[in-house]
Point group: C2
Chain length 139, copies 2
Amino acid sequence: MAMKFSRQRAAILSFLKSRKDHPTAEFVYSNVKEEFPNISLGTVYRNLNQLAEAGMIAKHSFGVLGIDHFDYDTRPHQHFVCSHCSAVIDLPMDGRDFSSIDDEASKGFDGLIQGHRLYFCGICKSCLDRGVLQDEENH
Amino acid sequence: MAMKFSRQRAAILSFLKSRKDHPTAEFVYSNVKEEFPNISLGTVYRNLNQLAEAGMIAKHSFGVLGIDHFDYDTRPHQHFVCSHCSAVIDLPMDGRDFSSIDDEASKGFDGLIQGHRLYFCGICKSCLDRGVLQDEENH
DNA sequence: TATAATAACAGTAATCATTACTGATTTGTT
DNA sequence: AACAAATCAGTAATGATTACTGTTATTATA
């Protein structure tokens, strides 16, 4: 199954490259649709998964959201998910290396640990500014 | 919405208490059905979510699985998910406290970090014994 | 450069976990 | 016992994602 070039896939990759947020397939679809009005949502899903499979982009499945997000930046870095608006934001923990926790987890466990998934939850700046926390106090 | 007693909810909680694995709603359903042949899957979902909301059980949404798992043990502890058979297993990292990584994540970030989700991935013992890794080498 | 093989496409249907709706039944309280 | 409210079983709906199908685009080869 050698990967052939396709203008749709190129447009999807190019759009993802232009974003610092972490778009969903639906969002990529609605934007790439401006250049390819006939593009299908299935095509977007297929290409995003294919690019992720090839290691050219990253696919993040945050359990709390129940919807996949895609990232042009494949370098290891940490993410934050806003519990209120569901925004996915990069954390500036540049130097921090979490690889040692896999070794810790291996101790006393008889399976093979190959990696981990980690992300942080809370309220993002713009939701804080909108007074989301106060609103929750008032029920 | 004061919570009233129901025999179905009691049976669901009791079943979960008897398990050391981390059953899905479907699995709870198929087992509680032996005592309540007419119980509905929706009832199981509603009660599991209600119990989780009340803090009596824990709900774990592992992104890699795309299906929720429930845990009678609400004490903080770490989980392992087998990439091959999807088993969810407790890790024996008893003393380890990960709460400090939230503080680390807060540095240089202008939102509010309230917590994190962490789980480990790999191959469990019984899959290793079945030679899963060798099978994958042979494509 | 024609041709043949096949990857990719658009459009649509299907899947699967989960939630929402509905009218009947329990439960807890006066 | 009587009432209000929570819960139920059964079923329909939702929403993200994947699978299918006949057609089109891309690439390697003759």
